[in-house]
Amino acid sequence: MLFTLLSGLITSGLLIPFGKFFRTKWCAVLILLPLAIFCYLLQQIPLLANGGVRYEKYQWVPSLNINFDLRLDGLSMIFGLLISGIGTLIFLYASAYLKGHRYLDRFYAYLCLFMASMLGIVMSDNILLLFIFWELTSISSFFLIGFNNDNADSRKSALTALSITGLGGFFLLTGMILIGNIAGTFTISELIKSADLIKGHELYPLAIAMVFIGAFTKSAQFPFHFWLPGAMKAPTPVSAYLHSATMVKAGIFLLARFTPILGGTPAWSYTLMIFGGFTMIYAAVHALFRTDLKSILAYSTIAALGMLTCLIGLGTEAALIAAITFIVVHALYKATLFMTTGIIDHETGTRELTRLSGLRKVLLPVFIAGILAALSSAGMPLLFGFISKDLIYEATLHANQQLSIYLTLAAIITNVCLVAAGFMAGIKPFTGTLPEAYKKVHLPPAAMWMPPLILACLGLVFGLMPQLAGKQLITASLQTIHSGSDMVYLKLWHGFNTVLMLSLATLAIGTFVYLFNKADEKKMVLLKPFQAFSPQAFFGKLGDWFVDLSEWYTNIMHNGFLRSYLIKIILFAELLLAYELLVGGPIYIDYSKLSAISVYEAVNVFILMAAVILTVITSSRLTAVVGTSVIGYAICLMFVYYSAPDLAMTQFTIDTLTVVLFVFVLFNLPPFINQANNKVVIRDTVVALGFGIILSIIAIRVLQVPTDIAISKYYGDFAYTLAKGKNVVNVILVDFRGFDTMFEIVVLSIAALGVYSLIKLRLTSSEKE
């Protein structure tokens, strides 16, 4: 199982150095990767019968509970098959769609990374690992959406998608840590066992709110839905992959994965049903107003995601069956429709519904794929969509009394709109008369029209023989999220009943709406007044505020004056230390323990104080420098008195060098100008005195606290036995705390490079002038 994840990650890494070999037709070789994963997963299906789960465990960061625990159960299987299967077709499709593109290798690298991280999400058994892959999908989708990076719009929508999903990821992490801490484990299989504990905990509402925000942002639920239509700026293969089977389904997967852990409570169900229900109606109605093919698909995708959220929220066995089936159905027809749209766009150069018609004459195989997908999305009998539509109505009808009416009504409205939207995207461009301009349109290479056709035919095959999918896959995945379920029997024919009537009525009304909803750009104008209230506008404003805030903050905190940085740092340290001292309790001085002051020490202190005063009041820079060096040497002497030769030596050499440095720099400074006015002098005095007083108090306090000699004793004892050195200070530096020393010299080097490059750089720029 590990290889399914690592192969994608490694391939994407290898494409950086070896990418140039795959820019040509050799990119077709890469298709073998998803294909191999797909075949491997197919092989594993029999293992999952009767709720079997395959685990693989690898230690990664056990101290943080992050382990590479993988699980392959029914749910992972169904998602894994969709990801790798549709992935194979997308890889093939993209090889023709982006043929000859300069950065085709990069595209495949992103795509591999994305696929691997999606597989990672569905196969993780550790929620923190799941989160890591979750973030990886956000990052890789950022690159995919912004793939046409010379287009400003494209960059902007990629950034929107990243900020929204990234924000959600942040909340999700919080939620996961909460859940993990409540249950004391981060492993999904163990979390399921302690589901009751989590549901009973007082932090449960907070935890599910966090998880919801994570899932809603990823799955484009209202009010976070707007990144999805924006993401349509991506090349069509990306949209087809991200928005049918993968990225947006990650949120749905998360909800399904957490159903056995968090689900079943009123808070869980009602929130999901309300948000899902609202999103599905909102987006489905919106879809009808669009004239851009990809926008229509984007909104109908949001509607479908709302439907899934709602079904998972409902949470009955029937609802979960409907949800799982609908995931598969939707992935199949939506990927097909995106790909046919891509072909139309690629061949005619437009996606405007108002300008497209009659393409069946020139793009026959595409037309077949489109019509099959549109009918499947409409729920036409004999197609897989019909079965899922039946299941949805069955689930909503058998919900409890009050809910059933509302849910069924919402489902009908959504489905009617989806029927119309599906027809608009899959049938409208192909019917009617062929405009003169498109007479010369020709069929693209087979690599482009085969993938949608295959998917569309799969929809037909599953529709005719639903047990092919139902018997093992759907049963197995149902068992993972709803324990104690029996075998699922998907049937093509349920007999004459309410469900069938509803299905047919939906189809009829949907067709009616389609016929009367003429594609017209004027409709968008109707929506204009509402733009100001839309979540997109709100989040846009929020973004602007954030920029303003950071600018304001930066101006205050990073104004580039060393003196202002210094005063902030010192003030902060003072406040922190003063607080610590206040909390710490009374301070007294035990005179009996202090050793007597010798004459040398007294003289030394006197010199030190004189030097301090001289430094402060002098008006010459050079005198000030000399003053500080006298202070340094005086302190150096103190170290000698108190038997710290290492410190003394270092202090001595450092001081010598500092004076030299100062003298070098002083040559280049203008003569001393007293820029400080009285106010500034008083402020600085107060800060400096405060710091001095606080440090003195701390020094006194250190005396009164019984020194913990264990540490120095440890170093003293072990310096020779463990590190074979007699000089304890040096042994600490090079051995016990070697890492610190290493990083210190790295920092030193960086500082030197900084000085070197700053001065050299300034010189070259002045030379240019």
Binding site: T650, T653, L657, V665, K724, N727, V731, G738, V755
Partner: protein, 125 residues
């Protein structure tokens, strides 16, 4: 002065493990030696004695320190385990990875100090 101070700095470096001294102080003393030389003979002449830019000492020192740090890994010990040769070597005394680490520190310190000082003195007048 230069040779004596350099010798002294090297002596400080070597004795560091047993008596006051070590790479850091040794490096500082060596830098002072070069700085004094530059006072007497001019920075450009000091650069000539060094043969190449002091900047080059930084990566060299960092490399030696890093090698000394990771060398134990090749022998199957955790990073930074002290490795020691069995027999003491004449004059230098016991030789171990800690000494190489210290040598790295020594070189980095010389490199950093001289880079900063010489850059300022050469390019700002």
């Amino acid at each position: 002065m230069l040779p004596i101070l350099l010798l002294f700095s090297f002596f400080l470096l070597l004795r560091g493990h047993y008596y006051p001294g070590g790479g850091f102080v040794g490096g500082l003393v060596a830098s002072i030696a070069f700085v004094l030389h530059s006072f007497a003979h001019g920075t450009i002449n000091t650069m000539k004695i060094l043969g190449y830019k002091p900047l080059a000492l930084i990566p060299l020192g960092l490399g030696i320190a890093a090698l000394a740090m990771f060398a134990p890994v090749f022998f199957g010990y955790p990073v930074m385990t002290g490795l020691w040769f069995e027999e003491p070597i004449p004059v230098i005394g016991m030789l171990g990875s800690a000494l190489f680490f210290d040598l790295g520190v020594y070189l980095v310190v010389i490199g950093v100090v001289l880079t900063i000082l010489f850059t300022i003195s050469l390019y700002t007048h």
